[in-house]
């Protein structure tokens, strides 16, 4: 993929945390592109490193423990990894915005939502009070918050969960970012509110030509809104492809397991689901070889357990950790 086609190019990214027990790698050499104007989904179970990936891109890793140890993150040609912090602050909230997993952590409880929107605008542009108000109200209409002029004077706790999430989206989009990173924007919400929010992001994306990284563990969400998908397991991307290709021809055992474990509307009620046994290992227990081996139900040689399968392009734009057993 040529660099003009992608707004973001991540190569061999390694992110680690320093703790009492030493340095532990949470993201272990991942590479992916975000095509311009499109949506890349990152899917994987809890603890696979999806949020750490998002915080690496936005350089919001918890300090002082979180560190990017290697690799590059090129955004419109500039490597964010080596960018001075002041430069990064200019990009964040402006060209790149993030929606966080938990809206209450990102909204200030003691400030009205209007004040928070105004601050987000004024951080990156100079404009008059009247302009700030007009832009705020315009954005709130876009995210479909009823009676925006009145809501501006309310505090986050006065809004319903769905409305708070829409407010977060308004804040993230107020400066018309080129790239939006949405970390589980709908996980805590009802299916109906979820559908509203996803539609909203898609509409605004079309309107503003924005690129999106959508993090979720819901394969239904991925299937409905993403163009490309990266499947993450235990700090690594094990498979990456176009959404149609991935759902039609999943190659990695983990991707297959995830796809088989969802209860489908057209499945027979009360039949057993295929479940992946066990859990995602903690970062202290990451092995050098294929990390899915112990849950795969297959037998492995010591050699397989100790060597990481190479990440190869198995067919056009379909990448997979190419283990000779799983990926036949």
């Amino acid at each position: 993929m040529s660099s003009t086609a992608s707004i973001l190019e991540v190569r061999d990214l390694v992110t680690a945390f320093d703790g009492d027990a030493g340095r532990m790698t949470a993201v272990d050499g991942i590479s992916f592109d975000v095509p311009r104007g499109k949506t890349l989904g990152i899917v994987g179970e809890s603890g696979c490193g999806k949020s750490v990936t998002a915080f690496s891109i936005t350089r919001l890793l918890p300090q002082p423990h979180g560190k990017i140890l290697g690799g590059s993150i090129h955004f419109e040609g500039r490597d964010l990894v080596s960018l001075p912090l002041e430069e990064m602050q200019k990009i964040r909230g402006n060209d790149i915005s993030m929606i966080f997993q938990e809206p209450m952590t990102a909204l200030n409880p003691v400030q009205t939502v209007g004040r928070q929107l105004a601050e987000a605008i004024l951080l990156h542009t100079e404009c008059s009070k009247a302009e700030v108000l007009a832009r705020s109200i315009d954005m709130m209409i876009k995210v479909r918050i009823p009676e925006p002029a009145q809501r501006l004077n309310e505090y986050p706790h006065q809004l319903s969960g769905g409305m708070r999430q829409r407010m977060m989206i308004a804040m993230a989009l107020i400066n018309k970012p080129k790239l939006l990173i949405a970390d589980e924007p709908t996980t805590a919400l009802d299916v109906t509110v979820q559908a509203q929010i996803l539609e909203l992001i898609a509409d605004l994306q079309k309107e503003m030509g924005m690129s999106v990284v959508l993090i979720t563990h819901d394969l239904g969400v991925i299937a409905q809104v993403c163009d490309e998908v990266a499947v993450m397991y235990a700090g690594r991307i094990v498979e990456r492809a176009n959404v149609h290709e991935l759902f039609a021809k999943p190659r990695h055992a983990y991707t297959q397991g995830l796809l088989e474990s969802i209860p489908r509307l057209d499945s027979k009620p009360k039949t057993l689901l295929k479940a992946i046994p066990g859990n995602v290992p903690g970062i202290a227990d990451f092995k050098p070889g294929c990390r899915f081996a112990e849950r795969s139900g297959r037998n492995h040689t010591a050699q397989q357990l100790n060597t990481r399968p190479p990440f190869i392009e198995i067919s056009a734009n379909h990448w997979v950790e190419n283990c000779p057993i799983c990926v036949a």
């Binding site: 299916v191 109906t192 819901d218 759902f247």
Partner: protein, 322 residues
């Protein structure tokens, strides 16, 4: 014969206000719900946040004092039974919660947690109870080494297994499962759902299975009830409800589920707005009111008691929906 019969159940909460903190209004969380549940059967309960699912579940296990109506369990009227009178029934009716962390005492070991139901019911010697605890752990797929550990040392899925182990300890007949997998990952979710299905088969359990996603509910249930603003608007066998939904709200809920198939992307009729407050519910069909349904006014003066339109398929009778 039905194990549980719920008739016209109402569960109101006082809304307090003013200087004297007096009840100034009531929140009609559950407002006239009727259904039956057979032995070995699963009734699913779906609806958006705030529609009254948890309140209904808590009223049934009698964690609440119902305002009006009747709950009959195993032939016995338990609607207003006192705590003492409820004790024998407590053995047979259990509840599993969405967030097991909330319902498991963080200062108790897994052994303490699982032994407690036996102690409360004054069952077994210390040795017997220890053995029962190990049996329970085995049943829910946890190893014996879990006994001396605390809830926070486990993953979400494992904690839910502990909650399930406690719920089945006294071999109940009915378990109210309140969003037991909503907080879990897909893969762990399927492990826990399978466990619930297995236990039902082995022990002949009945479930009231609550969730807000119709796909999970449909997968687990024989019949499904759809709840909106304190009322059941449609109730049908799971397959029937999915293939032949009649109420506009059921259709909207089905439509909102993100289907895990990129070739089935849909132009959806999205549900707008939020669930209104049950403090001042609109007259007639509350959902029609929210959707500004052109025929909503017709529903205002109608008797909206569920009608059977096909065998086992009940729906609110409004001429436009049905």
């Amino acid at each position: 014969m039905s194990l549980l019969t719920v008739q016209n159940l109402q569960q109101y909460f006082p809304v307090r206000g003013g200087l004297l903190h007096r009840a100034v209004a009531s929140c009609k969380a559950v407002d006239g719900v009727s259904f039956t549940l057979n032995s070995g059967e699963t009734l699913g309960l779906v609806g958006e946040s705030g529609c009254g699912k948890t309140t209904l579940g808590k009223a049934i296990v009698r964690l609440l004092k119902p305002t009006r109506g009747k709950i009959e369990f195993d032939g016995q009227d338990i609607t207003h039974a006192s705590i003492g009178a409820l004790r024998p029934m407590r053995r047979h009716v259990q509840m599993i919660f969405q967030d097991p962390a909330e319902s498991l005492n963080p200062r108790h070991t897994v052994r303490d947690i699982l032994e407690e139901p036996f102690i409360v019911q004054k069952m077994g010697t210390k040795e017997e109870r220890r053995k029962w605890v190990l049996d329970l752990l085995d049943k829910v797929g946890l190893s014996a080494s879990a006994t001396d550990r605390f809830p926070f040392e486990f993953s979400g899925g494992q904690r839910q297994r502990i909650g399930i182990a406690r719920a089945i300890a006294l071999k109940p007949k009915l378990i109210v499962c309140d969003e037991p997998v909503s907080a879990l990952d897909v893969s762990v979710q399927s492990q826990v759902l399978n466990l619930l299905l297995d236990l039902q088969r082995d022990m002949g359990l009945s479930y009231l299975f609550i969730a807000h996603g119709l796909n999970v509910v449909k997968h687990m249930s024989d019949r499904v009830a759809v709840m909106y603003l304190g009322k059941i608007v449609e109730l049908a066998p799971a397959e029937e409800l999915y293939h032949n939904p009649r109420h506009a709200y059921t259709k909207a809920l089905l439509d909102a589920i993100p289907i895990a198939d990129p070739t089935k992307r849909r132009e959806r009729q999205l549900l707008r707005g939020d669930v209104p407050s049950p403090i001042n519910p609109p007259p007639g069909c509350a959902f029609g009111h929210r959707m500004k349904h052109p025929k909503w006014e017709q529903s205002v003066n109608m008797d909206l008691t569920l009608k059977e339109i096909a065998p086992g398929h009940f729906v609110q009778p409004c001429p436009c929906c049905t």
